[in-house]
């Protein structure tokens, strides 16, 4: 009954509504900040932001009221590591934009122009409560995949929340393969790349810096990408001993300076320590570990390094020799050791099944009841798929929780969102209510009745 009320209130909209003041009342509210759910809470959305959430919340006059009794209300899911929006069909379906197998560039690649907000993958995940995603490029010819973005899944043509948020590099088995066949080769390529970046950075500061002497008018259109400022102008010379293109070296300058996060994919315990060890030589690197399937073996040292982790949630197979110690308790054990852990979909259907993150989070909660296993509290599990990934990239004050001032990415669920049987009933992104229909729902409606009609199915839509 309640669902049908909400349905008539909210779901009828075919196109996104404009942001307005909305009060969602009576639901079980989970803030996504690690706290446990609050029964009978209220969430107020105003001007696309969270105005307030919790109990004893004043409802502004004139707010549109949504009765969420019997429902759960949470921040939208933030897909912690993905290739969402870069591939409509992964295999033999034409061009995908997650990597360039034979392109000349690596670190310089910026995924942003590859994101297609019209991909059905965006709509399907949005209708299942995923509102933002961390999107990383895949590596191809270089150990550096390029620069990733944070996107929103809104039904509009502007998917980029923030471009060039991080650089992505492979330093484990995949990195070794890309680097010509060994991990040591990957490491020396990494060090050489940072050397080239340092050299470039020394020769020419960013356009915005005071060190810059002259500014060519032609530079101005590209000032918004500080990396490219080093490509032109006076003093942009390089030594002859280089392997990287100028674009690639320039892209690594902000990484070297700690102004852009460096996401490093490694799985095995020793690789994790090697990556943490890079901080000795490059103290300003803002390293984030991605994968870390064997993290539990060295959890104390990850915690001591204060390097955050975006981990696969339920990897438990020795899928290769860098994941021999895989266990579903990895996340719980790292968390217990004090590591900042978010959940991502690392090489796990990362272009499309981001909606599984809430299932995985629920599976981590379930481990609490398995003797010898390390589970995660419910509130923390939700945080791992909402605020924690945002915090890893320094965007925790923007997205990922229902805290006052955050972007209003809000989902009303039929029940506990970590239960696979629950579904998203209403989705707001930046306070804008989103359509819930997808190619899939339309196919379902077309074929739910197979009786012969006066016209073929092709006329039914």
């Amino acid at each position: 009954m309640i669902r049908s009320v909400i349905a008539s209130l909210l779901l009828a909209a075919a196109a996104p509504l404009t942001a307005q003041t909305i009060a969602i009342t009576g639901g079980t509210v989970a803030l996504g900040d690690g706290s446990e759910p609050i029964p009978g809470g209220t969430v107020v959305i105003r001007n696309g932001r969270i105005a307030a959430a919790g109990v004893n919340v004043a409802i502004p006059q004139g707010a549109e009221m949504i009765d969420a009794r019997g429902k759960w209300v949470t921040p939208g899911i933030v897909a912690g590591f993905s290739r969402l929006g870069l591939s409509e069909v992964d295999l033999s379906g034409g061009l995908t934009d997650d990597k360039a197998e034979s392109g000349p560039f690596g670190a310089a690649i910026d995924v942003a122009p590859g994101i297609n907000p019209s991909d059905s993958t965006i709509a399907v995940n949005r209708s299942d409560g995923v509102t933002r995603a961390i999107v990383a490029p895949n590596t191809a010819r270089s150990i550096f995949g390029g620069q990733g973005a944070v996107i929103d899944l809104g039904a509009d043509m502007e998917p980029i929340t923030r471009a060039r948020v991080f650089q992505f590099v492979e330093l484990g088995e995949a990195g070794g393969n890309t680097a010509g066949g060994s991990r040591p080769s990957a490491y020396i390529q990494f060090r050489n790349a940072l050397r080239e970046a340092r050299e470039l950075g020394r020769y020419s500061g960013p356009i915005s810096s005071s060190a810059r002497r002259a500014e060519e008018p032609l530079d101005r259109p590209i000032v918004r990408n500080p990396n490219e400022s080093r490509l032109y102008g006076p003093g942009a010379e390089r030594s002859e001993d280089v392997l990287l293109t100028r674009f690639d070296a320039a892209a690594l300058v902000p990484v070297l300076q700690g102004r852009q996060a460096l996401l490093v994919h490694v799985e095995r315990a020793r690789d994790i320590l090697n990556v943490i060890g890079l901080k000795r030589d490059y103290p300003s690197l803002k390293i984030v570990l991605v994968g870390a399937t064997e993290g539990w073996l060295v959890a104390d040292r990850i915690a001591a390094s204060r390097v955050p982790v975006i981990a696969s949630a339920v990897n438990d197979l020795p899928a290769n020799f860098e994941q021999i110690a895989a266990t579903q308790s990895n996340v719980g054990r790292m968390r217990d050791a004090g590591v900042h852990v978010a959940i991502g979909m690392i090489d796990d259907n990362d272009t499309r099944y981001l909606f599984n993150e809430r299932q995985y989070a629920g599976n981590l909660v379930a481990l609490a009841d398995v003797p010898g296993a390390s589970g995660v509290r419910w509130g923390e599990a939700l945080a791992m798929i909402t605020s924690r990934p945002a915090e890893v990239l320094g965007m925790g004050r923007e997205i990922g929780s229902l805290v006052s001032g955050r972007r209003a990415d809000v989902v009303i669920w039929s029940g506990d969102p970590l239960q696979v049987s629950s579904n998203a009933e209403a989705v707001f992104i930046d306070g804008v209510q989103q359509p819930m229909d997808t190619r899939q729902t339309k196919l379902r409606e077309r074929y739910k009745d197979l009786n012969r009609d006066v016209l073929p199915q092709a006329y039914k839509r």
Binding site: L91, S92, V314, A325, V365, L443
Partner: protein, 454 residues
């Protein structure tokens, strides 16, 4: 009549033909024997019997490897039986995965262990998956401990139109694949439609390069199989010189004789309809379509032809032929009265088949179908058992059937549920409360994480 009369009157009788020699149809026989199990009574649990029945406060008695009794709280429990308190917990038949590559694409997934596709010709019915299965694949134990999987079919991959024979296993650790083989289970033949065969061979400029090429090669192969069968039928009836054996044709003859079940990888509705016609053209039966993401478009046709559809809950779009996958596929097939199966095709997915069924169940209910939990469990045990030809022996909790049983610590359609105990043929093969009852494969022995919770 005339010919017979003439023959009888001939002066010199023709030389007497040698009697037909039977071919050994089971040259790699199962050596599986159930492990010892205590007489066990699970009491007070909610029971899904696997055929759509539900018992509250139920009692299930396991003895001598079989379900000795199942019923309510008043069922008599044998004296001295080991009693398990099932209060607040759930008992189901063990999950049966009709589509797995454990052992032939094992962990670790290194080239040396990649044994799932004999991609050297689109027609390879002569290969048998059991000859690739590595019993030390750690994936088997994950499927047992985290998934509650007690039996599974291992299939060759889908690079080929005719991929080879499948094998059905009990999910019990063993030194040899024979030690895992499900006694008496029929063989299956893996066939594949669509993109994979035409991609694999088309890219080598070989036939098939198109879907029409797929079908032409299929039909030409069945024509050969029919001729082969005629030769052998004649020999088996009249004796004489034994025809030359052809391993590939042996498998296809087994299909035409109804001894080997056809498991057909096929995504698209239009292709499934063509495969159904092909089966009629050559006189065989398709037991199940696997990965049938468009089954919902022809659910009526599947029901009419008695063909099961083995499906994922929500996979779609990873390739073009999966583009029209929808989340209601399983409940729509079920609603049409066809046989719906939840399958994995994945060493991770096999650990969460109950959750995949839970998704499909919830999606079905949301579109208004009245599906009970206990009915949905048929997608996980009884229907796959039917598709594997083992439903007389396992797949439901009926008196006298194999005691392949899971005790879940909560409703198994909850994301928070985990297997607490798993029995196979009445032997306790996993108990979450006993670290000694966690199987560790040879591969994992002496490695970091040996014997850990997984």
């Amino acid at each position: 009549m005339v010919a017979l009369a003439l023959g009888a009157c001939a002066a010199t009788p023709p030389p007497k033909k040698a009697a037909p020699v039977p071919i050994n149809l089971d040259p790699y026989p199962s050596t599986y024997h159930r492990y010892p199990g205590a007489v066990t009574a699970i009491r007070g649990a909610t029971v899904f019997d696997g055929e759509g029945g539900r018992i509250e406060n139920g009692t299930v008695v396991l003895a001598d490897g079989v379900i000795q009794a199942i019923g309510g709280p008043d069922i008599p429990v044998p004296e001295g039986a080991y009693q398990v308190d099932g209060t607040g917990k759930f008992v189901t038949p063990g999950i049966i995965d009709v589509h797995s590559h454990l052992g032939d694409y094992p962990s670790p997934g290194v080239p040396a262990l990649s044994d799932g596709n004999e991609a050297t010709s689109p027609v390879r019915p002569e290969v048998w998956a059991e000859h690739s299965v590595w019993p030390q694949d750690p994936g088997f134990s994950r499927a047992l401990m985290n998934g509650g999987v007690t039996a599974l079919q291992i299939l060759p991959g889908s690079a080929n139109l005719f991929g080879g024979r499948s094998v059905t296993l009990k999910n019990v650790p063993a030194r040899t694949v024979q030690g895992m083989k499900f006694p008496g289970a029929p063989y299956g033949l893996k066939m594949a439609c669509g993109e994979n065969p035409k991609r694999v061979y088309g890219s080598k400029s070989q036939m098939p390069q198109t879907r029409m090429g797929n079908i032409a090669v299929d039909r030409a192969t069945w024509i050969k199989a029919q001729a082969y069968k005629r030769k052998w039928d004649k020999y088996n009836k009249n004796g004489g010189d034994m025809p030359e054996r052809d391993l590939a044709m042996d498998t296809l003859m087994g299909v035409l004789n109804g001894q080997i079940l056809v498991h057909n990888h096929c995504y698209r509705a239009d292709e499934m309809a063509i495969m159904i016609d092909m089966s009629k053209e050559f006189g065989y039966k398709i037991t199940a379509f696997h990965h049938a993401v468009e089954a919902y478009k022809i659910a009526d046709l599947l029901a009419e032809n008695g063909i099961c559809a083995a499906m994922w809950a929500d996979w779609w779009g990873f390739k073009m032929e999966a583009y029209d996958g929808i989340k209601e596929n399983i409940p729509l097939v079920d609603h049409a009265g066809a046989c719906a199966i939840v399958h994995s095709d994945d060493p991770n997915g096999i650990q969460r088949l109950n959750q995949e069924a839970a998704k499909a169940l919830a999606d079905g209910r949301r579109m208004g179908f009245n599906i009970s939990d206990e009915h949905a469990w048929t997608w996980l045990s009884f229907n796959p058992a039917k598709a594997l030809g083992i439903a007389e022996k396992t797949g439901s909790l009926k008196q006298g059937k194999m005691a392949d049983v899971v005790l879940w610590n909560a409703n198994p359609f909850s994301t928070y549920a985990r297997p607490e105990r798993v029995w196979i043929d009445g032997a306790l093969m996993y108990f979450s409360g006993n670290p000694r009852l966690r199987p560790v494969s040879d591969f994992e022995l002496g490695q970091p994480g040996e014997g850990d919770v997984k």
